[in-house]
């Protein structure tokens, strides 16, 4: 049982906007096997990060190893996603939100569920659900830089 008051407080300390999100809940225990970028692509058995091929459990799905935000967009384009205008739920589409920092590097990714809620993997820690992509914006994760979608 990970959705405890203590764990919620921990999350809110790092991601303060979650305090205002009534849909926020912790949905999984700590799991080191995947990260947010892989989780946004429905993968829970690998870590996606560029230029760490020497580390066990890691891979990067394209040949460009840049940390620039535009390169993350290319990663999801490679698996069929296209840029879209709105994060609002549309029954036909699965959507993802990509985040970037002030330097223009990518930082985080979240995915919309069939319920309309969003799911994020917080580093090596928990999966959480949240009501909109903006409630996980914070110092570490930066801000939403793009919304992409794919047909379900």
């Amino acid at each position: 049982m990970s959705d405890t008051d203590t764990n919620r407080e921990l999350c809110i300390t790092k991601l303060p906007k979650l305090a205002e999100d009534t849909s926020f809940s912790i949905t999984s225990p700590i799991d080191y096997n995947y990260n947010c970028l892989a989780w946004a692509a429905n993968k829970n058995n690998i870590i996606w990060w560029p230029h760490v091929p020497h580390l066990d459990g890691c891979t990067w799905p394209i040949d460009n190893f840049s940390l620039k935000f535009e390169n993350l967009i290319e990663v999801y384009k490679a698996i069929g996603y296209v840029i879209c205008a709105s994060w609002a739920f549309e029954k036909k589409y699965k959507k993802i939100a990509l985040y970037k920092d002030k330097e223009g590097n990518f930082t985080h990714a979240a995915r919309q569920l069939r319920s309309g809620l969003w799911t994020s993997k917080l580093g090596p820690a928990f999966d959480i659900s949240h009501g909109n992509p903006y409630s996980v914006e914070c110092e570490d994760y930066g801000t939403v830089g793009a919304i992409m979608s794919i047909v379900f």
Binding site: L10, L15, I46, H54, L55, D56, G57, G123, D140, Y141
Partner: protein
Amino acid sequence: MRFEKSLKMVPIIIGLTTSFNTYAKTEMAYNENDIRKKLVNMDLQNFKSSNERDKFVFDEQYNRIRFKGLLKNWYNETAFSSNIDSILENNNLKQILSLGNSAIPFIIEEINNKPSYLVWSLNILLNKKISNSNITINDACRKWVIWWNTTNNSNV
């Protein structure tokens, strides 16, 4: 020169206790006179080897405590970090890596109990992956533990 117990000693004592120097470890040996007087039961022939053994045990315990502290800080400071580069560049992990190969038994023990990104410290220290295929962190930890047990048993 002979010191007598008197108030004249106070400045000396104060002077001795106001040092700002700290030491990571202290070499300790028995007073040789005590050994000669049999006040300390010690085999002088084996003194050197036992002293080295004690030092080894002391170093191991010191490193273990240090490792545990650094690990706890690393987990706490990177628990929500999605940036793998910043997880790897965290100062606590750098200090764990600076322990060198002496940290490997502690790392193996830790990932055996609790699989985590700590497995990457083995990739860095030993400059190799445990598998060239895409395996999970849990599987990588398991394989490293098996590798360690096999390597140690074959060396016995």
